[in-house]
Subunit: 337 residues, 2 copies
DNA sequence: GTGAAAGCGCTAACAG
DNA sequence: CTGTTAGCGCTTTCAC
């Protein structure tokens, strides 16, 4: 059996409360402290966190729920989350959304069973109204990363995402600045909330620049390399554009491949840009011009908001924060001027 | 305040013990069961897991410690772990080894504080003797994935890894089968236990095939794309080989790039093979011939061993399991025959 | 089958 | 500053 606080008290000839106080950083007499320290060391004592959690009714833990924990894309977000969590002495437990037997809403048990004090839900898929219903019953702070549930009427949650619309606008403007006027767009799948936001950005930017919108130049795709390949070959068939923006890097890389295989060169015959700035984007040939997701910053902001809420039940701090992404210029777009 | 088991008992006019028994699947009268079910629903009751953990002195949780949770490479391993864990009704909590303030051994607190019932440590870096000392004091089952602590005398732990030696041997034999006799090798960094194992595989395979070992054809590198680039340019300077095996895919991709930039073609002028089979290996041109890490299987086996130990304190089940990787033939090696 | 009672290891008043 | 006491919410004997 493991030593308990009681054993420490006995060995050091004090009481449980004194030990507890010492453990929690409250003042004890210098002399007591030394005895305590010695006893703890001798016994190899470690507090039982389950007992503490029970009595304090708090866990100092943040539950981080992701669809797929090993999805490399989340990497930066998780780093941001851990950074802030650790700073405030919170522990993170990661919960693999999909893989659980309890189904889509299995993560709710983390909250119901009081394993965590707050929740960060990461998903770029459009969230269902049911989800918001369930969260409402939770009586526990929740922060959303990715889709914030637009279209669902005010849910009073903190939500953080990249400014998709603005990100695409930046590329369009950049392309225009280097002389492009015929710009096509490969869109993403409908299940992601970013898809419509990025399309909107594309359309608005064209309008801002006085370029005409060619509806057939917006081709839907699925954010996969294969999808990008297919979309690009369609676009090349249609012809007429000097640049194409893929709404994510993986698609852009597929488009790159297609272009090369059809005997064209990038950026000579077509300029291609992406969105996300995933690692391989700098590996491909030519290195991809893209928009860098502010992943780390997203993690930071969501967690700061959450922590504030957990510490201070008053602070509302709800609302949507959009973080600005940055244009990363590499070699896949040609200067036409 | 959240409803407790006591509230359920009162509402259903039974006792705490009966509620507890029902919750734990022990037999109760049909009639009681219905009342209970109704009361639980009405109150929105959920058991407090912290109380349960305290009294049972067990958490039904596996702690999974990784250097970097967002390292894509671990993806398959984690899937394997979750699969088996869920199957046996264990929950997983992931612990980000490095990022924690408590330092290298911070994960020990997971065990000491009884947050978990068992631990899976994932790391391909050579483990330190101190680590094994600390683990020994843990009185809790531990499984190792990756480095098993060779050279450290018997530690009685279960450890699972890929058969690195055999994996490289397979490539060498394959290359030889398609006519290669002059095969160079780009080695990995010393900190990884796989490095020496893969070098050994290379040397042994050459010997088995009666090929002469050219020491200058083993060039050290660092498992990065840039490192692979550099190593390949050295090798090309030396000249004479028809094939080069990079000891991981990232290095191989760097080598590919270098070869192309120097005006050579793969596999025409040089055949190049890798190890790991990371996602991008099939994206590059030409698609890379490599050895596929049996990641999922590694996760499965480690977790099965751990679960067995957690359920049955007797079962020793220690020892080292090496899982065989599979050769993946794509287009980066030329048939010389 | 069910209820009463004890106790898991800890914290938090409350006196002193 | 320190000890006493009373729980936190649950499981688990032990009677009945």
């Amino acid at each position: 059996m493991n030593p308990t606080i009681h054993d420490v008290a006995r060995l050091s000839k004090t009481s449980k409360s004194t030990v507890s106080r010492y453990l929690n950083g409250q003042p004890v007499k210098k002399r007591t402290e030394e005895t305590l320290k010695a006893a703890i060391k001798e016994l190899g004592y470690h507090p039982n966190v389950n007992a503490r959690r029970l009595v304090k009714n708090s866990t100092q833990t943040i539950g981080v729920v992701v669809d797929d924990i090993s999805n490399n894309f989340y990497s930066g977000i998780l780093r941001g989350i851990e950074k802030v969590a650790n700073l405030h002495n919170y522990q993170c437990v990661y919960y693999n959304g999909v893989s659980h037997r309890q189904g889509e809403f299995g993560f709710l048990n983390l909250a119901h069973e009081r394993q965590v004090d707050g929740l960060i839900l990461i998903s770029f898929l459009k969230r269902s109204p049911e989800l918001f219903e369930k969260i409402k019953d939770l009586s526990m702070p929740v922060a959303l990363i990715g889709d914030g549930g637009e279209g669902i009427r005010d849910h009073g949650l903190l939500s953080v995402d990249v400014n998709n619309e603005h990100g695409i606008k930046e590329i369009v403007h950049y392309l225009n600045r280097i002389g492009h006027k015929e710009i096509a767009f490969i869109a993403g799948p409908d299940e992601f909330s970013a898809t419509s936001q990025r399309i909107t950005g594309y359309k608005k930017a064209l309008k801002e620049l006085g370029l005409t919108l060619q509806p057939s130049w917006i081709v839907p795709s699925d954010w996969s390399k294969e999808g990008g390949y297919k979309a690009m070959s369609e676009l090349i068939n249609k012809g007429g554009m000097t640049a194409v923006i893929a709404s994510n890097d993986e698609t852009a890389i597929g488009a790159l491949l297609c272009t090369h295989e059809l005997g064209f060169r990038v950026p000579k015959h077509f300029s291609i840009a992406g969105f996300d700035d995933i690692e391989v984007s700098s590996w491909v040939y030519p290195p991809l011009t893209t928009v860098k997701q502010p992943l780390y910053q997203i993690g930071i902001e969501a967690t700061e908001g959450l922590v504030k809420k957990m510490k201070n039940k008053e602070a509302p701090l709800q609302g949507r924060r959009l973080i600005e992404p940055n244009l990363v210029v590499r070699d896949s777009c040609m200067n036409l001027l």
